[in-house]
Subunit: 139 residues, 3 copies
């Protein structure tokens, strides 16, 4: 049994979903781990991770619109707005999604379903560099 | 330390919550792993996993009603509806819940609290066969 | 590779977020595990775990207010209210957040980002003792 820890960064250009499946699959392959798990972790409080349908881009557009409506900017009770109108909604959207995702590995590959992709969900309007940690454990 | 990977399927008959705790507990027992973790993973984008109160069925009915109201079918801005009115809401409900759940193992048993059960949350109206992967790691 | 399992309890005094980062960091240090993961698990169905911004308390107050509005008490369709008006909302808020969080460990420390803290999110009005299990796996 062994542990492999890797890092990478994702350049985001505003709110939206950014697929990182291929990057993680490559790290799993490099690790030579055949059976186990991979844990993906976002080191931020204003972006998050989701597993989402990765075939039809309209599914992701609808998802992003849903979150824009569920957690609107400028709610009258928000006090935390030092970094702008998208500051507080970004924390709430992170809490409603994930900071980490765990995916099983078998036969040396992530066991994602046919339509599953792993996405960084950026909640801020400005471009950011987002740090992702990947921990692969198994044998 | 060892890794055990198992699969099973759940036959769903429409929207709702389906308890899978006993199935996972049996796999943990068979694995002979005494201390570690079990990771449950749903290989789909229109159902998800939750840990939920498993004593009183009204709690789950209220939960399902909450999600029906939070993510209604036929929102006027939905573009992704190729598979029907329950298509896009199913992806959003998955994102708001989990694709994987992790539970600690000690003394050869999952360490769930008294009222905790693990449920598949089906978001589609039609019956489906849902594939669940279970990875048990520990010693 | 080894597994270390620990428990602790958190005394809550009503709805709100309670930081447990330092407690978990101490358990990671004591475990002597240098590379791996830590899994934090709440053994309850009416509180949950979140990773959240831990610098500005107004961010957490706004988050708590958001959840109070998203999942109001006394919704007219709730049937499950044996334990009071905060009973059913507590289960829904748990499902919308996490029962477990996983954080990578490298160089003997949790790899949280600069502003990330781990919080118990109490959803009940009355004081409770909440049991948290911590599983540290790695080498």
């Amino acid at each position: 049994m062994s542990v492999v820890t890797k890092n990478f960064t994702v350049a985001t250009s505003g709110k939206g979903t950014y697929e990182i499946t291929d990057k993680i699959e490559a790290l799993v392959r490099e690790s030579k781990i055949k059976n186990g798990i991979v844990i993906i972790f976002a080191q931020h409080t204003s972006c998050s991770l989701i597993v989402m349908e990765n075939a039809d881009p309209t599914a992701r557009r609808d998802l992003e619109e849903f979150f824009d409506r569920l957690v609107p900017e400028n709610a009258d009770y928000f006090e935390h707005d030092a970094e702008g109108a998208d500051d507080m909604p970004s924390h709430i959207r992170m809490v409603l999604t994930r900071t980490s995702e765990t995916v099983p590995i078998a036969d040396g590959r992530m066991q994602l379903g046919t339509w599953q992709g792993i996405f960084l969900f950026e909640h801020r309007r400005a471009p950011h560099w987002r740090k992702i940690m990947v921990t692969i454990m198994g044998e």
